[in-house]
Amino acid sequence: MLTLKCPCCGVMTDETELHAEGEAHLKRFGPGSSDEDFTGYLFQRENPKGIHFERWRHAYGCGKYFHAARCTVTLEVFGTYPAQTLEPPQEIKDAISAKRPGWSWREMSN
């Protein structure tokens, strides 16, 4: 059972307090978008063996959504951060680079 720090409350939460909410940093495509863009937004998801950015909600706590940077293999957590951002904070990218040099995720990389 994972533990993640809620960046809103600042508490370490057990997975049972949280709700997993899928991949982070999706860019929404709405009316007028191409079929390809819209399909990508709606269905195409990363499925990495390694570094991943994902959404969680502190559903049985403050109710806030947040993001987590996590390794899907070792379950190491490199940090959590508020959802109101288009990309991870630099210190989290640095933390990943320190431990997983050469990492990449979508268009992001070391």
Binding site: M1, L2, T3, L4, D14, H19, E21, R28, F29, G30, P31, G32, S33, D35, F38, L42, R55, R57, A59, G63, K64, Y65, C71, T74, L75, E76, V77, A83, Q84, K99
Partner: protein, 981 residues
């Protein structure tokens, strides 16, 4: 024969006898006995039958690894199957029965399987039951059901009378195992000031050390154990728990402990079991090691035991499995058993040692006058229901030339395997130790936690440190000569002997089965496990796995580490369902949400229906009625007079802020920003996939405030959905959402007399002019502060009135009293459903199932054409969503007036690729309408709205077909004259 020795037994109290029953026979044991030691003391060597061949089975081990001695324990509401006799502490009045035999343990007709064992070899399930196919249903399946499972299932009417609870612990260090290694680890952590939880699965500290001997700092090791336990008990930062097993290790240093609080004294006030949910910074697995059996022909005959178990029974319980106990070994450790037996005055006719020489322990045995045969093995054991002798042969022979020696028990030792289960549960890796022929934890590849650091450490025998001096500083013990790995005894055993050499005693897997699997192409140890069922019994292969994979490696001409182990999964030994459930049973299984009028409903005949966590009255049943009668009466009375509906469960989300209108325009398919304060609008909500997810009436309270009603089950989900978009997509929009569902009691006042009763109560204007259809107003009714919505889900004149939750019951009482002269009756959810279906209103969850879009349901009028965007709009433009062949909503009227079965499919000509009838539609809602006096239904039908009047065939269970005509889905008051008065 097995019996109690005249003296000895460090764990028993001979002055305190205990009586118990085994297979209806009264027996006696002593305080401190396990059920296994007490059975052995009573010469009950035969304790069960094996799973497949129904072979006689005796006690093999003395602890959690026991594969054979599983019993049905207790009676009635305390009956439980598959309980290990070796870990069941004896108490007065214990009742146990042996398992898997018919008609009796001594005479079991299932033993015929043993004679047929040639046909029941590895994979027989897969080979045997394939053909002929009809045999599966009528022959094979009944046979398998009859023979599946060892123990008896508890009686269906039995109810567990014990209590269980969950405990939570957050500690710096969790030490699993209270042997010398665990005690030493706990002490070191305790002295370093850490919060420590030390747990031990048995009722005693010290593990094997007090039995196996050795000294620490010049004193006996049991003295060191006592002193260390005393020192730990003095430390306020150390908690110690006996009878608590480390059941599993999970992600991010989570662990489960299973505490058997009162199994040894049932019926006391304590809970029976506790499940401990532990989060530890570090977990130390000091879980010891398990001795391996030797694979020789007849090694499953009752009387054959692990050498360490024999030693345990002699030293701990003063019990010996026989008068003449032969010993078979490939290592020095088993000689400790010979010495313990000799000390207790039990005869040891021979020690058969596969090696060419032993160490000082072997010398000591020889010095005691015990016959030691090096380079020899057991070729075949003699006996049936118990051992009568041992046939020994040269270790490097094929076992055909035997020399027989009389004995009535055999102690065997194939070396020791560290208990690596907890280390491995969460990803800890193992190394193969060639010298000791076992897998041990690789400290460089430990399980890692959230910070990427190792969080499990193995200590003592569990780490591969098998001898006392390796574990404790200043400890001394016999020096041990290396073992010689033995996976088959003798080394060149002929086929017939392999077919009688058991690997898995409970599941009847033999050396020959694993070799057969290898010949048939099984290379992966995981596949071989499932093909042969090796290690798949309730003991999960604690004794058999290493021996089995060694045989597989040999058959495949591979190294053992190249074959690898099967996956270790929690729990270490089975834990009770009660412990998993904890307090969550009966009324406490799930908290029930109750409306303010819940108790009134309960007192007035409510037939309850669960809706999410809520309970809603399905109908209010009066004297002499059945539920169907009540529903029909409620519909008719509401249509003709006056009905009251408790609508408090409907979700009420307050959406407020300068951007609230803009936000709701995105949430709903309709335009909500143009709604005027004081007005209501029915709205549809779609997911970004385009599918309809919820519906409800939105009321605009003021310029910046909306109140959004959701379905009963949807309130929390839709609240989360709104939060998701506000927090993660449009976080710059100024909107705040509050779930106010439980702040209000809401009552639907419905029917032709609805206005009359409200006017009688008085307080605010509710006329058609003052409060027209789809308007709302704040005011006072009968002295209650109220918000009145003029909305209708029934098609009748209808007001939904929200009052403060605390006033709900009083308001309900006032309506019932004032409504008496108008024929008031409460109605439940089924009447609600029927009335909405008569009106052709859709219901989320009936007409929708996650694949339906509003356009399928004829709801285009509720989809704004003016808006550039709303959630689901882009998806609804995709090919599949605009396909004219999508099934669409229609009404269905059976030709004979009967009620169509829910979910029935309309078939058309032809068959699909799966040999199923082609379908063209299905029923989504179906009821008997008392208003129309016939069955009515709604359904989704291909091109349905263009096919009015066509008749469809609905095959129904029983082989008949119901015919129904496609009609308009609005069955009642199409013009809406009734609701708009």
């Amino acid at each position: 024969m097995s019996h109690r020795l005249p003296q000895g037994g460090r764990l028993i109290d001979r002055r305190k006898p205990r009586t118990f029953r085994f297979n209806n026979r009264a027996m006696r044991g002593m305080k401190g006995d396990t059920l296994a030691s007490a059975l052995l003391a009573s010469d009950q060597m035969l304790v069960g039958r094996s799973f497949k061949y129904h072979r006689p089975r005796g006690i093999v081990a003395s602890g959690a690894e026991e594969p054979n001695a599983l019993v049905n324990l207790g009676t009635g509401d305390r009956f439980e199957p598959n309980q290990r006799a070796t870990t069941t502490e004896l108490f007065d009045g214990l009742v146990a029965k042996s398992q898997n035999h018919f008609p009796s343990l001594d005479f079991d007709i299932g033993v015929v399987n043993d004679a047929l064992s040639k046909f029941l070899s590895a994979g027989f399930y897969y080979k045997m039951f394939i053909h002929p196919r009809p045999f599966w249903k009528h022959v094979y399946e009944p046979f398998i059901r009859q023979s599946a499972g060892l123990g008896k299932a508890p009686d269906a009417e039995a109810r567990d009378v014990d209590t269980y609870e969950h405990m939570y612990a957050h500690v710096d260090v969790l030490v699993v195992g209270g042997g010398v290694a665990g005690l030493q680890e706990a002490r070191a952590a305790g002295e370093a000031g850490k919060e420590v939880l030390l747990i031990e699965q048995t009722a005693h500290w010290g593990g094997r050390a007090p039995v196996d001997g050795g000294s620490v700092g010049g004193g006996p090791v049991d003295k060191w154990v006592d002193e260390t336990v005393a020192a730990l008990a003095e430390m306020p930062n150390v908690r110690m728990r006996l009878r608590m097993m480390g059941a599993g290790v999970y992600d991010h240093s989570y662990a489960l402990g299973y505490e058997r609080v009162s199994d040894h004294q049932p019926g006391n006030d304590a809970p029976r079991h506790r499940l401990w949910r532990i989060r530890a910074t570090e977990i130390v697995t000091a879980t010891g090691a398990i001795e391996r059996p030797l694979s020789f022909a007849g090694n499953d005959i009752p009387g054959v035991m692990l050498a360490s178990a024999v030693r345990d029974y002699v030293v701990n319980y003063g019990v010996t499995p026989g008068r003449r106990v032969a010993i078979a070994t490939n290592n020095d450790d088993a000689y400790r058993t010979a010495l313990a037996l000799a000390d207790a005055g039990v005869g040891v006719p021979v020690i058969v040692d596969a090696r060419s020489e032993g160490g000082p322990l072997a010398e000591a045995a020889r010095d005691r006058g015990i016959r030691v045969e090096f380079g020899m093995g057991v070729g075949r054991l003699l006996g049936g229901k118990r051992v009568t002798g041992v046939g020994i042969c040269r270790m490097d022979s094929d076992g055909s030339a035997l020399h027989e020696i009389a004995c009535d028990a055999v102690a065997m030792s194939g070396g020791w395997s560290p208990v690596v289960h907890l280390w491995s549960h969460c990803g800890g890796k193992l190394n193969w130790n060639e010298t000791r022929a076992h897998f041990a934890p690789d400290p460089a590849r430990a399980p890692t936690g959230a910070d990427g650091q190792a969080f499990v450490r193995a200590a003592g025998a569990a780490s591969g440190a098998l001898t006392l001096p390796e574990i404790l500083d200043g400890a001394e013990d016999w020096e041990e000569a290396p073992l010689s790995p033995v996976w088959q005894m003798p080394a060149q055993a002929e086929k017939a002997l392999q077919g009688k050499s058991w690997l898995d005693f409970q599941n009847d897997v033999k050396v020959s089965d694993v070799r057969l699997a290898a010949r048939e192409g099984y290379e992966s140890v995981e596949h071989t496990k499932r093909y042969t069922t090796l290690g798949m019994a309730t003991d999960q292969g604690k004794l058999s796995n290493i021996n089995g994979l060694a045989v597989l490696a040999d058959a495949l001409h591979k190294d053992i580490p190249a074959v690898g182990t099967t996956t270790f999964r929690p729990p270490y030994t089975p834990i009770s369902m009660g412990a998993i459930a904890g307090e969550a049973r009966g009324a406490l299984f799930q908290p029930i949400r109750r409306t303010p009028m819940h108790d009134w409903h309960d007192a007035h005949g409510a037939d309850w229906e669960p809706v999410g966590a809520w309970r809603r009255p399905y109908a209010f049943v009066q004297n002499g009625e059945d539920v169907h009668d009540a529903v029909m009466r409620e519909v008719t009375n509401t249509r003709q007079n006056l009905g009251l509906l408790d609508a408090s469960t409907l979700g009420k989300l307050i959406v407020k802020g300068p951007d609230a209108g803009r936000f709701l325009d995105m949430m709903y398919t309709n335009m909500m920003s143009t709604l005027k304060p004081g007005r209501c609008r029915y709205g549809l909500m779609c997911s970004e996939n385009g599918f309809l997810i919820d519906d409800g009436v939105v009321a605009r309270i003021d310029d910046e405030t909306f109140l959004c009603h959701t379905t009963t089950g949807g309130a929390d989900r839709i609240h989360g959905h709104m939060e998701d978009w506000l927090q993660c997509e449009w976080w710059d929009w100024k909107v705040w959402v509050v779930n106010a569902t439980e702040q209000f009691a809401q009552v639907g006042v419905v029917g032709p007399n609805a206005r009359k009763v409200l006017e009688k109560l008085g307080g605010m204007e509710v006329s058609a002019d003052a409060l027209p259809f789809m308007a709302w107003a704040d005011g006072e009714i009968g002295g209650f502060r109220a918000r009145v919505y003029r909305i209708s889900f029934s098609g009748e004149l209808s007001y939904e009135i929200a009052v403060d939750a605390g006033q709900g019951q009083a308001f309900w009482d006032a309506l019932m009293e004032a409504g008496e002269e108008f024929g008031v009756m409460p109605y439940g959810t089924e009447a609600l459903h029927i009335m909405r279906a008569e009106k052709g209103f859709i219901m989320i969850g009936d007409e929708t199932d996650g694949t339906v879009i509003p356009q399928d349901l004829g709801l285009n009028w509720a989809i704004s054409k003016k808006k550039e965007d709303y959630l689901g709009k882009r998806a609804q433009e995709r090919d599949h969503m605009t396909d004219p062949d999508r099934w669409q909503l229609v009404g269905l009227e059976t030709l004979d007036g009967s009620v169509l079965p829910d979910g029935a499919y309309a078939v058309e000509a032809g068959w699909n690729d799966n040999d199923q009838r082609r379908v063209q539609g299905r029923v989504t809602s179906t009821y008997h309408s008392p208003t129309l006096g016939r069955g009515i239904a709604m359904g989704l039908v291909r091109h349905g709205p263009d096919r009015m009047g066509e008749v469809l065939d609905f095959p129904v269970p029983g082989g008949t077909t119901v015919r129904a005509k496609i009609v308009d889905p609005v069955f009642y008051d199409r013009e809406g004259e009734k609701q708009n008065v």
